[in-house]
Symmetry: C2
Subunit: 550 residues, 2 copies
């Protein structure tokens, strides 16, 4: 059934300009092939799920509307004569491998990590005979459709490729190919998130990590806990209602993306004090530099049984909103001075006879216990494993952010991990400091270029016996200096770099990659995503001619 299982050992293939990420195995010719005016996509699946039918419709729409000219001088003008004699492709036939269980794309996308089936085989003959796309799952079909839509260009009303026949056998190297967005420092309307999911899907990303709340604002409306957004959102209009969340997870699921929500606790929670002042220690304490890594200070009183129970119940309610099997409780940047100076926390520690570390472990077991009861796997930031003495289930997913050097230590402790290292993958770095009167460079300068992300090695310093613990990785946008205004340009096409590292595998050559990254950036722009220009258009149309030795 898993007929593609050998693929993971294949090296990346030399590629078609338009494909990002690069398929694991790819053969192309040099024959022009155009889409017939009555081109159609046939689905040979009994009772196809509606999101598969929708994906087929979207693919046909992209083929018609992308209208992307090839990135060569003159765009498609030099293809005119080849197009006159080109065969027409009338049909792409989709089918599932024999015996495959038919689930919706959405269901497949939300399966537990490591059990999702994304592999596919795509064959496009040069003679106009039927092209075929086969997979083990509807999710694999979606990945194949995404590839198919990237193969075609437009010139003078014709939609075509000049590289037929095309034969692709493909599967991802890692299941977690993610993007993190912080919607607390600054708010993003639902439409911005959906457009981001569109772009993620185009580069076959699988995981949206939604850092939905933080100390600055609480935009998530949680049934039974609506006071948190009522008091903590920036504005009554700047919230995600339960139906907004439903729309977002459905939109993501239909595009092959699972949504892991994160309610960062017990730090990064100052704004909970707007609704529940009694739950928060050192709320807006001054100077904030003593009590937090950034303003405002404020952390949940983790040693309080009342606060732990409140937090666990909140997580139970949040778990019901998000169908993913994974949910993050955060756990980064806990400030001990905040608790040292908080008389309520000190009283709680005294009365229970616990140290702060012991109380943190109890707090975490309480919240994680609630998640487990709700059928969820918890995720945490690396400090919970490396800096604290917290008892965690071995199931826990650990997000490595402080440094890429820390991944090995997490693997040593036998936890599954996701790479999100600030030294490679932080999209916000390099714009200087945002603290009002600090004119120094920011802690994570310089700017992390796409080239830097592209050189990342997921298995660096990790022993072969622990290799299986690496789930993948994600680029992250923290939004102290970002908002809807610069979302697209600060993320795209940069975040596509890690999408290829974790789909195709590491070791790609930046010079080879650049023309393909131009191509996917141009295609994103055609689809309404404001991906930036990587070079002057002169260079984009002349691959290699803006290299140093050219």
């Amino acid at each position: 059934m898993r007929f593609l299982s050998l693929l993971l050992a294949l090296a990346p293939a030399a590629g078609v300009f338009g494909l990002w990420p690069q398929p694991r195995s790819l053969e192309t010719g040099s024959t022009a092939l155009k889409l017939a005016s009555d081109f159609d996509i046939h689905v040979s699946v009994q009772h196809p799920p509606s999101d598969l039918s929708d994906a087929v419709s979207r693919t046909k729409s992209f083929l018609q509307n992308d209208k992307l000219g090839r990135l060569v001088v003159g765009r498609g003008s030099s293809d005119s004569s080849a197009l006159k004699t080109a065969k027409s492709l009338k049909t792409l036939q989709l089918s599932l491998s024999k015996g495959a269980t038919v689930r919706s794309i959405t269901e497949e996308s939300r399966l537990a990590l490591g059990t999702r089936s994304e592999e596919y085989i795509l064959d496009i003959p040069a003679d106009g005979s039927t092209a075929t796309l086969t997979a083990n799952s509807t999710l694999g079909l979606l990945r194949g459709l995404t590839t198919f839509s990237q193969l075609f260009y437009e010139w003078s009303g014709q939609i075509y490729t000049v590289e037929a026949p095309i034969s692709i056998t493909d599967a991802p190297a890692y299941p977690w190919r993610g993007l993190m967005l912080d919607t607390s420092r600054n708010f993003f309307p639902v439409a911005d998130i959906m457009r981001t999911l569109d772009a993620m899907s185009l580069v076959k990303m699988s995981q949206f990590h939604w850092h939905v709340t933080d100390s600055q604002s609480f935009p998530l409306v949680i049934p039974g806990f609506t006071e948190l957004a009522n008091a903590g959102a920036y504005d009554p209009s700047m919230v995600y209602s339960p139906s907004d969340v439903q729309d977002i997870v459905d939109y993501a699921g239909a595009r092959g993306i699972d949504v892991m929500v994160e309610i960062d606790t017990p730090g990064h929670t100052a704004i909970i004090g707007a609704a529940h002042p009694e739950y928060v220690a050192c709320a807006e304490a001054s100077p904030w530099t003593t009590f937090a890594n950034e303003p405002p200070a404020g952390q949940l009183r983790l040693a309080s049984a009342t606060v732990a129970n409140f937090t666990a119940k909140m997580f139970t309610a949040v778990a019901k909103m998000f169908p993913s099997t994974v949910l993050s409780t955060g756990g980064d940047e806990l400030n001990t001075e905040c608790y040292a100076q908080d008389s309520e926390t000190q009283a709680d520690l005294t009365s229970t006879g616990r140290t702060l570390e012991q109380a943190l472990s109890v707090f975490t077991q309480t919240t994680h216990g609630a998640l487990k009861a709700a059928g969820k796997t918890p995720a945490v930031w690396e400090e919970m494993v490396l800096d604290h003495n917290v008892t965690l289930s071995n199931e826990t997913v650990v997000l490595v952010w402080i440094s890429s050097m820390n991944a090995a230590a997490v693997a040593e402790k036998n936890f599954r991990l996701v790479h999100a290292p600030s030294d490679y993958f932080y999209l916000d770095c390099g714009a200087g400091e945002w603290i009002g009167d600090d004119v120094a460079n920011s802690w994570c300068d310089p700017f992390k270029t796409w080239q830097k992300a592209y050189t990342f090695d997921p298995q660096a310093n990790i022993s072969a016996s622990q290799a299986h613990l690496v789930l993948g990785g994600e680029q992250a946008l923290w939004t102290e200096q970002s908002g809807p205004e610069n979302l697209d340009p600060i993320v795209w096409p940069r975040a596509a770099a890690s999408a290829e590292v974790f789909w195709t595998g590491p070791g790609g050559n930046g010079s080879e990659a650049l023309p393909r990254l131009h191509d996917v950036a141009f295609r994103m722009r055609q689809r309404g995503v404001k991906a930036i220009q990587l070079q002057p258009m002169w260079c984009a149309l002349r691959p290699g001619q803006c290299n140093l030795d050219s």
Copy 2:
């Protein structure tokens, strides 16, 4: 008549949050004052120019449509009770000082540098009696209207200030408050340029420096020289027609902005070779690193009389398209190796008995002679004064870009100068290198923050006797890694930093400035300019609370 002439000696005043740039003299109260539902602006000018009437209409539209809530917690909610008893302002009365010549804003904006009158006096009583705006010119009235529109906020349908009475006497420190945009590396549609002019006008900028062509593409359609864009534009749709130019200079003029176009010569001209291969030395020569600072190589054959005459005639034609008195011929980054290896240039030098430097001087005198005949003042980049032995008219405006340290040397040579230093004002720096296979940082990293630009001192190292030579300055967007997708976020609100330095004068305090910069950025967003977030909104609503010691 110049009743505001003493103002230039005044120190910046403590300010209303909403004003950027800070007026030279400002007094405010703490009384709420709202606009009456029938508020109107009366123009006491006989036969007001149509662009003044348009500016009045735009101002009324901004007042109604900005709908900006005050940047405080709760936005305007705490103003509700004050608004219940607030007086209503029914009229703003505009008038010119006695004996002032009535010209259109557009005409005033295009007067020679140093002769434009931008000063104004604005008085808004707290009791609802008529507010008055007086100036020496329609351009001064425009600046005052711009200030007026920034004073008002919206809450619950009411448009109001809480700082009446307001009394402002204002005038700029420097005439040149500019922004440079490169439309050659990547193309920008006319609408993007117009939106940029809107934002410039909001912060009282006076000069758009349009670097319209370069080696990568030639988007300007010049009557009589249409072959240049025909062969050199990226696409037939990616051009500025003469009517586009007319629209842009008119749009700018009506907003108090003069447009200085730049056709960079004799370097940065490779693309002219697409139409006239015989005019260009070392066109696309390889390796480009030998022949140019960036790909593609190619420079006008400056020693050829034919090429010099062609270029001069082209400038004559360009001069007719742009009503400004200033026009830039560029002159930066001339590569000598390109000419050393060009047999045609060597033959021309031999036959005329000139050195390359002598030929450059003749070439420049030819092009500048054409400009002078067309009534224009030439502008050049600093190398033409500091690195070459070129005879230039003392009228010439010199743009300093390589380093802020070079301004003093230009002033020593008694040339008027514009500060555009890469170490303070280059908006493109800090995103890494764009050369395809160069993973090093770019030459002008790191990112130039608004705080950095804000610390610029226009008179640093310049002697008092040469102080008058400083015309002002400009921030610059070179577009190797930019396009329409990131134009607004990469420029705004950063470029407002220099607008205040050159209007109000240097020495502003960044902590004091930040809340006002937030305010103008929020207002830009309300007007459709995608200025970025400078901080989490939590900070924007709590001035000072995200400072280090808060």
